[in-house]
């Protein structure tokens, strides 16, 4: 399958009060056509900044300081404003976490939809027709009435659907969904996820799905990268991630999930707190919170290495991680793929 997006050693840094916060510090991954790629991690691990970097929407004073982002072979990092504009919306779109603040409160939904068609030579009527079609596609009832309304008149789920409609307006090949359901309650969450899955099938889109919810990853993704402190700690297909995690952090995350088989047991949390991204030190960023840390972990940062079958991990203790058990049984070679 052709590679749609190749991120190579992306670095996005933020100068802050004399220090440098390394929000994204050497992230590399590839996305193929039609694939759903999950990016999971705690708040502050850099997943949002990866998304923003891909579309060159990093908020000042942050900037991409190194690496390449190749979209169909062209490097986004080096593009000028015109080229960037042709990519945004038309090739790559994004939907943000908070629909209330992501939609302009003083413009009607119609105006915000029509904007997507800026630069095309569609007539007003055609734009209206297409806009209604989009709203219908995302499941907004009575689109003819609702199209003239404003953000504050929509419910949370509706707003998110409207944002999806807008993002899909110009038929992008890649949709970046940054925590699309975090701000919604669980029933709506489910609806939106199902909507995204359906749209992905119909429109044959690739999706980068950013979340901190492992359940969503399991439901939607083909491949996953686990991020921590601006770096990818583990990357593999979704089944392998849950059946054979190969990183202490991933393992700890799974361990902290509520387990229906272990009713009555204490929930296990990961001790410690996320690190200061301005002051990481030479070793592995997870080291202070890792049960298996040794001297080497403090002095040298492990590289992301491939351990077989498209599965990479960033850890010195490959011996230890090889024995980790996941939360689902491992597929036997006969059943696999």
């Amino acid at each position: 399958m052709e590679k749609l997006l190749e991120v190579k050693d992306l670095r996005t840094y933020f100068p802050f009060r004399g220090e440098i916060v390394k929000a994204v510090d050497g992230v590399s991954f590839d996305i193929c056509e039609g694939e759903t790629f999950g990016l999971v991690g705690e708040s502050g691990c850099g997943k949002t900044q990866v998304c923003r970097s891909i579309l060159s929407l990093v908020k000042k004073p942050g900037k991409i300081v190194g690496g390449q982002i190749l979209y169909r072979g062209r490097d986004i990092v080096k593009m000028n404003r015109e080229e960037m504009r042709s990519i945004r919306g038309r090739e790559i779109s994004v939907i943000f976490q908070e629909p209330m603040t992501s939609l302009n409160p003083v413009l009607s939904i119609r105006r915000q939809l029509f904007e997507v068609f800026d630069g095309s030579d569609m007539s007003r009527a055609k734009k209206y027709e297409r806009a209604i079609e989009l709203l219908r596609m995302v499941g907004i009832p009575s689109p003819e009435t609702r199209i003239g309304e404003y953000t504050h008149q929509f419910s949370g789920g509706m707003r998110q659907r409207a944002m999806i409609a807008i993002a899909l307006g110009a038929k992008p090949s890649l949709l970046i969904a940054d925590e699309p359901t975090t701000a919604l309650d669980v029933t709506i969450q489910d609806q939106i996820m199902k909507l995204l899955a359906e749209l992905k099938r119909e429109l044959r889109m690739s999706i980068i799905l950013v979340t901190h919810d492992l359940g969503v990853i399991a439901q939607m993704c083909d491949r996953v990268a686990v991020m921590y402190a601006g770096m990818i700690m583990e990357m593999t297909d979704v089944v392998s991630l849950f059946s054979k995690p190969r990183h202490p952090y991933t393992h700890a995350l799974m361990g902290s999930l509520p387990n229906p088989k272990k009713v009555g047991y204490e929930l296990v949390a990961i001790s410690g707190a996320p690190p200061n991204l301005a002051d990481l030190g030479p070793g592995c960023p997870f080291m202070p919170r890792c049960r298996y840390a040794i001297g080497l972990c403090e002095s040298a940062r492990p590289e992301l290495v491939e351990i077989g079958g498209g599965h990479s991990t960033r850890c010195h203790r490959l011996d230890v991680v090889a024995d980790f058990e996941g939360i689902i049984p491992v597929a036997t070679p006969a059943e696999g793929n």
Partner: protein, 280 residues
Amino acid sequence: MVRTGKRPRLPPWLVAPAFVVGVLIVLASFVLAIVPGKIVHYGPIDVDTTARMVAPCVAHPFGTDNYGRDIFSRVVYSARIDLQIGILGMIVPFVVGGVLGLLAGYFAGVLDSILMRIIDILMAFPFTILVIVIMTILGQGIRNVYIALWLVGWMSYARLVRGEVLVLKNCEFIQAAQVAGFSTRRIIFRHILPNVISSSVVFAASDVVLCMLTGASMSFLGLGVQPPTPEWGAILNEGRGYISYAWWITFFPGLFLAVAGVGFSLIGDGLTDFLRTKGR
């Protein structure tokens, strides 16, 4: 984000050059106001008929007017009056308006409605018109300038404080204090007041400038300070008739007025930065 321990430094807002300049200017004006005699040679109303309409020179750095009075002395002696107008004109509305806003915001109800109605009605008049009308009724003179400023100035503070109190009233720590049975007086003065006062303090800095300018405007029109008392606006007015050939009479008092205004404004800006770093 946890920061590693650093040497304690003076906070940035305090040493910002703008703030320091502002403080210096204001201090300098206080010096002019308090000990004018030490700075100038002549008295503010000393007449010297041999030196009329003299252009700025060594003996008279700001020149003289048509009575031969040294403009430099007049300008320096004016500082006292203008600063008084600025500061005293601000203080009374600050206190009265602030208290009214506090009470109206906290107790709401009839008190609040009445206060807001009064303010709405008075706000229908342009500020300068209100001041002029009050001066018309009371008559000329500096004392009436104060009264006019006091009668008009309190409204801004009342609205500011009231707005903040209304927001704060719904905060949980206030509700907690109420439930805990703290006396109303204690809640208002120890819990609410410290939190709502900051926007008023910032406004007060620009209000000093406004009061000075208004007082000077009234004197400029002939309604405020009466001759021969030196006041920056009044001196400007005196020079109006001679602008084509004695520019110095109008230039210097206005310059001092502007610089004093800049000084207080810089302090106000510094205070805004200070409050911003405190997370308001």
